[in-house]
Symmetry: C2
Subunit: 188 residues, 2 copies
């Protein structure tokens, strides 16, 4: 997503614009929900020109993808505890905490919003999914390299992540630690 | 939801209003997505007075609940095949077909929209969830009465329905018959 721009000086104007635009998107999401605002509104909130946003991100969907991945990677980074069971338990507990927190299952809400945003929305949704899937696969590959018998990433999605997301979406939280650990045990 | 109204003559004016209003809601959902219209717009589309809608359904959320349950009960009725395995396979295949069809995972989109509609939205979401959970439990109870060892409804949600919904939401369809049957086998 950064291919459009020349190399930037860290801490320079470009970095400040990035921070301001990310913050504007985060604020607009919490005020209005995903997809209920425009690039023009993001730019106005961030105090930058519309053209600065279009030049750097191309469209709203790319910007939402970058903000979502930044958030996921910060709040639910893939753990590296030295064992598959430890990694999966830590990851599942992080996801459970995040999606039952004040912002709820944000990536689910974003996926729904992007699904209704035409081809660019679908591409953005797929980019988020693929980036996270690659990270999860790296975690499982590390386990295999240690000689552990790891499930594949889709099984983790189906039987650990999906149940937690659907329960939270339908108001069946909180997700007790015992329940979350049970999902991991069942998979292993 | 029908407590507000007196007994109605089947096929009379009241039934015609019900059909017209349901159709208007269905049309507005497919044009704009869930939650992006008002009671006034539904009434105008259906050719009835706003007050007719408020008198009968109380608010938009109750109306959306009724339309959603009507749709779910028509398109994904709980089967009664005489065996637990048959019921679960049939039900899972129906859900898979429905959520990969032209309207997508509609109940997921509705749950997301209702989650952002305050207390009435949350109540509507919970009403849909509880009505479907009761039906699923009845299906599982029938199996137990036949002496079969049935999972509980939450296990069906977690390990059969949730994976299918999340895969479709993130654009990982189509759901192959082999995959859907595999989810049921794994649970049984």
């Amino acid at each position: 997503m950064n291919e459009r721009q020349p190399a930037r000086r860290p801490g320079g104007r470009s970095a400040r614009v990035g921070v301001a635009v990310h913050q504007a998107v985060t604020d607009l999401i919490s005020e209005r929900g995903y997809g209920n605002f425009t690039v023009g509104e993001v730019a106005a909130r961030a105090g930058v020109a519309d053209s600065s946003v279009y030049r750097r991100w191309g469209n709203l969907e790319n910007l939402l993808t970058e903000v979502a991945l930044n958030r996921l990677n910060t709040r639910s980074p893939m753990p590296d505890t030295g064992s598959l069971a430890g990694d999966l338990r830590t990851y599942a507990a992080q996801v459970a905490r995040e999606i039952t927190g004040p912002d709820g299952p944000a990536v689910l809400h974003l996926a729904v919003a992007l699904s209704g945003h035409g081809e660019q929305g679908v591409q953005a949704r797929d980019a988020i999914r693929d980036a996270r899937a690659r990270q999860l696969e790296s975690m499982l590959d590390r386990a295999r390299e240690r000689g552990e018998d790891a499930p594949d990433a889709l099984e983790v999605l189906d039987h650990v992540l999906a149940p937690m997301y659907i329960r939270v979406l339908f108001g069946m939280g909180p997700l007790e630690a015992e329940y979350v650990e049970g999902l991991v045990e069942r998979l292993l």
